[in-house]
């Protein structure tokens, strides 16, 4: 059933938004032109005019909301106190200022119904480390195999890349049905070799394992493709020289492949860590029994905000999570110099 009038509404809603955006940018550029080109005759008039629209967009959608969130994090805004906080909740229609209480609660009270911060943090670390480890090792392994002269390479590559290509919202729901206790393919296949059946969806350990299996399936192709690109840029001559000098395959891998892959691998691992740490779709779709043992920090944040509507608390929790990511990134970048060269 395709409703043409609704289609028209969608088109006009999006269309009007675009027209308003274009008009706003045009007015803005006109003002900037008059100010910087005509009046100030600024040397950097053009870059100013080029950057300003994006800068305003980013200020409006990153900086302002984050400041606002910081503001909310000092209030007890929640579903019962759905009051817009004004300044720190002090200027709201009712005083909802609570100071640092939310930040204290993140570490002392339960974040979800029972689970506290430290358990969630441990779960997140296990989740991230396990996933990234398998992404990297399997990704390198498959890329090494794909990098040989082989018949059917293109076909293998196309098949192996599929998990990345399918929209995750679709593939994850398929995975969830395959973990069904009685009818899912996973238990049926394990049954063929005399294992199982296992309660993938209802028991904590098994559900966590199911999430990891699914996310490894989902994330390996990205790493594989990145590594393959790196491998293809390594000249054959290195290997030939090493072979003449009597190096075995293990030795050439350790002394040629790994060091030359480093510039590709280090940013890819950083990116992969973020993607896994922030992976909310996999836990959301694979853990639909609301097992708190399968929650990681970001899914707990989603629940705190949109399921339990504890907005003030969720805002404080969000900044704690951000601080964790920031500390990790700073150390990683210092340690590996991952971003060297990106600023030139």
């Amino acid at each position: 059933m395709f409703d043409w009038s609704q289609a028209g509404t969608a088109l006009s809603d999006v269309g009007v938004t675009l027209v308003v955006l274009v008009a706003a940018v045009a007015i803005l550029e006109g003002i900037l032109y008059v100010v910087f080109v005509r009046w100030r005759k600024a040397r950097l008039a053009l870059p100013i005019m080029l950057i300003t629209p994006a800068a305003i967009g980013l200020l409006a959608l990153y900086v302002y909301p984050l400041l606002w969130e910081l503001n909310v994090s000092f209030t007890k805004m929640n579903i019962r106190n759905f009051i817009f906080p004004g300044f720190l909740g002090l200027t709201a229609e009712r005083n909802i200022f609570v100071g640092l209480q939310n930040y204290i609660n993140v570490f002392t009270g339960p974040v979800l119904k029972q689970t506290g911060f430290f358990q969630l943090f441990a779960q997140t670390v296990i989740w991230t480390v396990t996933n990234v480890f398998f992404h990297v090792t399997l990704g390198i392994g498959l890329a090494l195999m794909l990098n040989r002269r082989l018949r059917g390479r293109t076909a293998y590559r196309a098949m192996l890349i599929l998990p990345w290509a399918i929209p995750a919202t679709a593939s994850l729901q398929i995975w969830r049905t395959e973990y069904n206790f009685e009818f899912g393919a996973v238990n049926q296949l394990l049954g063929l070799v005399g294992l199982g059946p296992y309660p993938w969806l209802s028991e904590p350990i098994w559900n966590f394992l199911a999430m990891i299996i699914t996310n490894v399936w989902l994330g390996v192709p990205f790493m594989m493709v990145i590594v393959l690109g790196g491998l293809q840029s390594i000249s054959h001559e290195y290997y030939e020289a090493a072979e003449i000098d009597g190096a075995g395959p293990v030795q050439s891998f350790r002394t040629i492949t790994l060091p030359l892959l480093r510039p590709v691998l280090i940013p890819a691992i950083l990116l992969g860590t973020f993607l896994t740490f922030n992976q909310i779709l996999v836990p959301f779709f694979i853990n639909q029994n609301e097992l708190e043992t399968s929650d990681i920090l970001v899914t707990a944040l989603f629940r705190a905000a949109f399921q339990y509507s504890r907005y003030g608390f969720a805002a404080a929790f969000a900044f704690v999570i951000f601080a964790i990511l920031l500390v990790f990134t700073v150390f990683y970048v210092r340690w590996t110099k991952a971003l060297k060269g990106a600023y030139e």
Partner: protein, 304 residues
């Protein structure tokens, strides 16, 4: 009695056969045994990668009275296209796909224009605060999406933007900008500046040099960025679920398809058919362009 002779030759030929199988025929090639092992490994991995896809086709073809048959045949008994007809003509899938397409195309276009121009400024001009701005763009990628979603939702409630596409279009297009700028700046940096300088000497303005020389040369990168933003918005779930809510006719396909899966009862064949319909065009596009997508990624973001 010449028994030992054939034994000796067969041993020799065996040895040479073993040699032929385990020693590389030429440099850069693999011995047959190694090649067979590689094929085996790749085949096994491909099977795992493809397995859910094969299963989905099997499930989608099942007739409604045979949904929970624990049977692995790829073409199920009584295979039928009913489920496809059901989701196309009876469910809201066509509507949801249309909604997604309109939103996604709009946002990808806005994001591309904004980032293509900003990236030019970052690539070709030196100004105070440039390094800081690039760091800021990188830092935005550290922010968990959900962290941003909390205030954006509350602000959307305050500004009355919930249950419309306006908030969603703006949110998608702006959040795509930082990553796009990084990739495009990386690409612009690889284009020699001499061409533009020559154009400037010939009387072009700086803007004309950008428009007539750099942009056409950057078409591959622009296509990559458009595709990236398109794919990201196309499969997005949480922002849409929070900003659009639950009005049936407003849903994007990601929200709509999730509805096939109830808490207690799932229309497995319809879920599968819908998944195939939404995935097929994107998968073809992705596999076809993946080589360029990755080169774009490594050029911009992963420049070592």
């Amino acid at each position: 009695m010449s028994a030992p002779v054939p034994t000796a030759t067969s041993a020799a030929s065996k040895r040479s056969l073993l040699r032929r199988l385990t020693v590389a025929p030429a440099r850069g090639q693999d011995a047959p045994v190694k090649r067979a092992l590689i094929h085996l490994g790749l085949l096994f991995a491909s099977l795992i990668a493809v397995f859910p896809v094969i299963r989905v086709f099997g499930t989608a073809l099942r007739p409604g009275n045979n949904l929970l048959d624990p049977n692995f045949s790829i073409i199920p008994q009584g295979a039928t296209l009913d489920a496809f007809g059901q989701v196309v003509f009876e469910s809201g899938l066509a509507q949801w796909l249309f909604n997604s397409l309109v939103i996604t195309l709009g946002t990808a276009a806005v994001g591309l224009v904004m980032s293509a121009t900003s990236a030019y400024a970052f690539s070709r001009f030196k100004f105070r605060g440039r390094g800081l701005s690039l760091t800021f763009l990188f830092a935005t990628q550290l922010i968990p999406g959900i962290m941003l979603l909390v205030p954006i939702y509350l602000l959307a409630v305050q500004l009355d933007l919930v249950s419309t596409y306006r908030g969603l279009v703006i949110a998608y297009s702006v959040t795509s900008i930082p990553f796009s700028i990084w990739i495009l700046k990386g690409y612009y940096d690889t284009v020699p500046i001499d061409l533009e300088e020559a154009a400037l000497i010939d009387g072009c303005s700086q803007l004309q040099a950008f428009w007539k020389i750099l942009l056409p040369l950057s078409l591959p990168a622009l296509a990559i960025v458009f595709l990236f933003n398109f794919l990201a918005a196309w499969g997005e779930y949480f922002t849409a679920s929070v900003l659009i809510g639950s009005k049936e006719e407003l849903l994007t396909w990601t929200l709509g398809v999730a509805r096939f899966q109830g808490q207690f009862q799932t229309q497995w064949n319809e879920l599968s058919a819908a998944s195939i319909i939404v995935s097929l065009p994107v998968v073809i596009l992705f596999v076809y362009t993946s080589r360029y997508l990755v080169s774009g990624l490594t050029l911009g973001g992963v420049k070592g």
